[in-house]
Symmetry: C2
Subunit: 210 residues, 2 copies
């Protein structure tokens, strides 16, 4: 078993070239040949490390998902030295919004995958669909904690509230990508709703960033 080259490294290089193209030009522009050129390798090499295009597509999507998870971990960790439910929720949601270069890249690339996944569900099967659900229930847990701390009205349903917040954030992200709104404007909208959710007189500023 002689491994003269590092397979993982090669695959990563190619997959990230694919993601770069998906970000800047959309997935329909990401042909095998274009990806090879972007990665600076031959078409043959792309074929060698990914036997089929679907394999490449799925692998790249998994890497993108991992990148987003890393980013979210960072933002949650930076939510405050004593992390409150509100700061955690704010961190997660504003982390998803396309407000800086990294989040713009990630959300744009996810958007590029969106319609593809819709029209080819078999591609989505390979990908862990469980992740958005986990995020939603994690948010719900934070809402429940905030209720016990008296920061959120007890009448709120935690699951429905969390689902709504996440959906709103995704919708705001779409509008930012569509050029309808700036990232800051989206943060303002989100902040206003978080103010409304957590008693407006709460201990955290609405537009907490990083």
């Amino acid at each position: 078993m002689s491994t003269r080259v590092d397979h993982e490294q090669r695959r990563a290089r190619i997959a990230e070239a694919l993601l770069r193209i998906a970000d800047t030009q959309g997935l329909q522009a990401a042909s095998m040949r274009v990806v090879a050129a972007e990665a600076g390798v031959s078409l043959r090499q792309v074929q060698y490390y990914f036997h089929t295009k679907d394999e490449l597509l799925i692998d790249a999507l998994a890497r993108l998902s991992a990148q987003l998870q890393v980013r979210m971990q960072k933002w949650i960790a930076a939510a405050g030295s004593p992390p409150t439910p509100r700061s955690i929720v704010t961190a997660i949601l504003s982390c998803i919004l396309p407000t800086d270069d990294e989040s713009r890249r990630i959300t744009r690339t996810y958007a590029a995958y969106y319609t593809l996944v819709l029209s080819e569900p078999k591609l989505a099967e390979q990908h862990a669909t469980t992740y958005p659900d986990m995020l939603e229930s994690f948010l719900a847990k934070q809402v429940r904690a905030a209720q016990q701390a008296g920061e959120v009205a007890a009448a709120r349903d935690p699951e429905l509230t969390a689902a709504g917040l996440l959906a709103m954030t995704n919708g705001l992200g779409s509008s930012v990508l569509g050029g309808q709104r700036s990232g800051e404007a989206a943060l303002t909208v989100l902040g206003h709703h978080l103010d409304e959710l957590f008693g407006a007189g709460g201990p955290e500023s609405p537009s907490a960033a990083k």
Copy 2:
């Protein structure tokens, strides 16, 4: 000026074939030849009535937009014999959610266009982008009216509230299309937030601080 055939009728037939394919298989499957077959006409005819594919794409998008507007008008009209701001807002938002066949078709087709518009902004220029903004300010107007009627807390910013509601609805729609949630579940989430917005316990509720 002899018009042996009705151009508008032909164009409509072809454009709607395109929309049907975009709905069921995505826009990437909508080639000129496939559209022609779906419409039951020859490739030449598609070329004749739409000189280029972009022209067809844009025309079909305009028709889709018109269909959504008709649907919204109907839903607003059916909002109640004395239409209250709340019933109007509820009608508009739930009209957009993919809960019945027509709305599923429309939202799916819009989703198919989404990434295309993102990667080719020149296509979006041709389309009236002003329409979502109009919708948003219309919602804001309803929120303001509800505030004057005492149904919504005065502390709410109407524009930000409207933007958030619309974004949430769009996000919920995406999750429904993605199979993450049923249309009824999305309606439940939306309803919960509308309950929260319009005081669940009747008008003039000073529950919110400040």
